[in-house]
């Protein structure tokens, strides 16, 4: 049992280390010192100095990642490779931007209401591919791609015409009511109440998935649907509820990005955050704690690359993306080196055993 756990932890860690090493080699090729790059990445991704500490900004940008990561993770847990988070995220954001600009209620009523409605709409949006999959056997990847495209075009249309705030250059909606802006711990950092909500949701998810009967059903359906059905678990129902819950969470991510960060919605709002959720869930080994750590790591690397590398070392910030891509690549090819890793771990264990007895 201990070894099983050890290998689960060793996989993402070694993928990250290998990814960093490979990136450093790449950097060395360009003639910049890899060590200084590493140092800048750490300082500008996770440091505490500066007007707004980079770490706070990282925590801020990690928030939507945690939520879309959690949404993707729920899909994985129930055995569905759902990539629909992107569209659900956009749907949540649209509702938040629309209500945020048009509601005229005191904020203690309006803000929860906006959140709930955003989640509800995103959940309905997620229900479509879920039903298509369960009832008609439509491949979830294909339907998700279509749903994502539809959401993206709906957004482009809305911000270009009905919701457009001014005739300016950029197609964007009006700024939402100032009272509805979510509180930020450090102004300008994006790190605020939404982070707390995301963390709470991760914790709740952990307990529901691993400690309740409902979560048990989700895990069993995901791991072996024949087994689940044989034991009387209604797998169709479980898949549908899990996927719609995930959709609601992805929608909440979009909603809180609007309320807490952008305060409006604009063309190109969906910058792939939904897809990042997939990487987060995969690298995080489909575990809430993993999702938490990986979200912060990814956000930090991006932050460091954008802030530090580009500005102080004039290394293109795409390096951050390259680094992340390399890490994902090493996870994807982990089957190649997993046996070696397992052997290493078991050798260590055998040594320990010998010492003991």
């Amino acid at each position: 049992m201990k070894k099983i756990k050890a290998i689960n932890l060793a996989m993402p860690v070694s993928a990250i280390i290998l990814g960093v090493i490979a990136s450093m080699l790449l950097i060395a090729l360009t003639g910049v010192s890899p060590l200084s790059v590493l140092e800048t990445l750490l300082k500008d991704g996770f440091g505490l100095s500066g007007k707004v500490a980079p770490l706070f900004m990282t925590l801020g940008t990690s928030t939507p990642l945690m939520l879309t990561g959690l949404a993707a993770m729920l899909g994985f847990k129930v055995g569905v490779f759902s990539i629909a988070q992107e569209g659900q995220y956009v749907m949540g954001a649209i509702i938040a931007a629309w209500l945020g600009a048009s509601l005229n209620l005191p904020s203690p009523i309006a803000v929860p209401m906006i959140m709930i409605l955003s989640m509800a709409v995103a959940a309905l949006y997620g229900l479509i591919p879920a039903l298509l999959k369960v009832k008609l056997g439509v491949n979830e990847i294909i339907s998700s791609i279509m749903m994502n495209n539809i959401a993206a075009y709906v957004l482009e249309y809305l911000v270009a015409f009905p919701m457009r705030a001014d005739a300016g250059q950029k197609a964007q909606s009006a700024v939402i009511n100032r009272d509805y802006w979510l509180y930020q711990f450090v102004y300008g950092s994006r790190w605020g109440i939404s982070f707390v909500i995301a963390v709470v949701l991760l914790i709740v998810a952990y307990f529901v998935i691993f400690k309740t009967g409902k979560g048990y059903k989700v895990r069993m359906v995901g791991q072996n649907i024949n087994f689940a059905s044989y034991g009387g678990i209604r797998s169709d129902k479980v898949i549908i509820t899990t996927l719609t819950t995930g959709a609601a969470i992805a929608g909440l991510a979009g909603c809180m990005e609007v309320l807490g960060n952008y305060h409006r919605i604009m063309t190109g709002f969906s910058s792939g955050l939904g897809f990042d959720g997939l990487s987060v869930a995969m690298l995080g080994m489909s575990h809430p704690a993993g999702v938490f750590i990986v979200s912060i790591l990814l956000a930090g690397i991006r932050q460091g690359a954008q802030l530090g590398l580009q500005i102080s070392l004039s290394v293109p910030r795409e390096l951050g993306a390259v680094l992340i891509a390399l890490v994902i690549l090493f996870v994807a090819v982990s089957d190649v080196y997993r046996p070696a890793l397992e052997r290493l771990l078991s050798r260590k264990e055998r040594k320990n055993r010998r010492k003991e007895g």
Binding site: M1, K3, I4, F207, K211, T212, G213, Y216, K217, R219, M220, Q223, N224, N226, F227, A228, S229, Y230, G231, G232, I233, R234, S346, E349, R350, R353
Partner: protein, 504 residues
Amino acid sequence: MNAITFENISKYYPSTEVQASDNVSFSIRKGEIHAICGENGAGKSTLMNILFGLERMDSGRILINEEEVTLRNASDALAHGIGMVHQHFKLVPSFTVAESILLGTEEKPFISKKSEVEAVRELSEKYSLPIDPSALIDTLPVGMLQRVEILKMLIRNVEILILDEPTAVLTPNEVGPFLDTLRNLKERGKTIIFISHKLQEVLDASDRITVMRKGKFIGTKESKETNIYELADMMVGRKVLLSVDKKPSVPGETILSVENINVTSSSGLKILDNVSFSVRRGEIYGIAGVSGNGQEALIKAIAGEVQVRSGVIRISGKEVQNLSVEQKRKAGMAYVPEDRVHVGLNVEASLLDNSLLGYEDEKCFKKGMFLDEKKLRERAEKMISDYQIYGSSVDGLVSKLSGGNMQKVVLAREFEHVPDLLIVEQPVRGLDVGSIEFVHKAIIEERDKGTAVLLVSVELDEILSLSDRVGVMYSGSLAGELSGDEINETNIALLMVGKKGGVE
């Protein structure tokens, strides 16, 4: 001359803390059929996987034709003329027979379809293993798939062929021809190693038999000079009862009643034709028959969710034919399915998770909103000790258990809520003699507690030794029902081929 010599082979699995191979030494002669027997988890597959390069040994030497070799992977083994057919076939469903057999042997990237088919036909004639080279894999029955796997090895010119439990997947009437195939291969000079739990067939087919127990080599016997009893005792390390003791049944009220049920396949074919029978408290009702005569559909209708076209199924008086599995279980049904690896268990999950299925909503296992982990753990621990489940802890993965121990996990869970109706399907497939004894005893104990037991088995021996009454399925309907003295091999065998006159 020895084809293979194992010298002091040891292998320890740290994850399960099992010494799967413990200083094993013995040899296999060139051109013999050598059977390997042993309880579930004795280390037979592990040793064979080492020989085929799939597992690394910790220490020891392997000699092939008296020369030491290093086997790092399957291609090393193939290069030394060793081939292996696994218990679970690894074939691509959409390939043809010819493609499957030739996969990986192509020297040129593009071989014409014609020459592929020719090559396979030639091979199959050479070894008299007839097969249609252009048939699609997913249309073939298990016996044919096995033939494909064997041909796949033969085309690679292997001299030594390892077969891991080849007969476990075959129906009783496929076994005879299969053993002929082995003899035939032997005549052509091949060396055969095969693993089996069926001692009679081992005695019939092999030249020598090696017995393993708990990772250790126990002994090698000439098949002519030994018998079932000696082998069983060597395997288990104590006297084994090869037939079960059971008191006459004391049947009570009717628990399961099946009345005139009909089931049609999606293409309109009649699968079940007006089947009626009932099972009472305290009796074991055996369903016999050659596999594929509707047993599967019958069990699906009773224990699963299948549209019954007409007819009524009752459990303790309650109509259940249109109910969900959950509701049927609530009505008092427990079910030990045929396929424990894919259905009865979630092998990628822990023993704890596997013990919980069907109980996850029970109030008594909850503490507030949460599952009462402490209670569930204690319950799983108790299952491990009550059923002598060997090879894993509560948190260990079920996939690491041997077949017999896997089956014990299923039994422990299904027996726990003292069901009114217990359905058991091929309960001892792939199990060793010791485990068979255990499982059979457990089923009889359930009966004696007052459970109505419905047993489905294609093994005549099992039906004969367990059943109080027997129904024989033939082409979708019940060909006849036997009880008391009528239950004997001749009567069942006649009904199995549809001869109604079998019973007077």
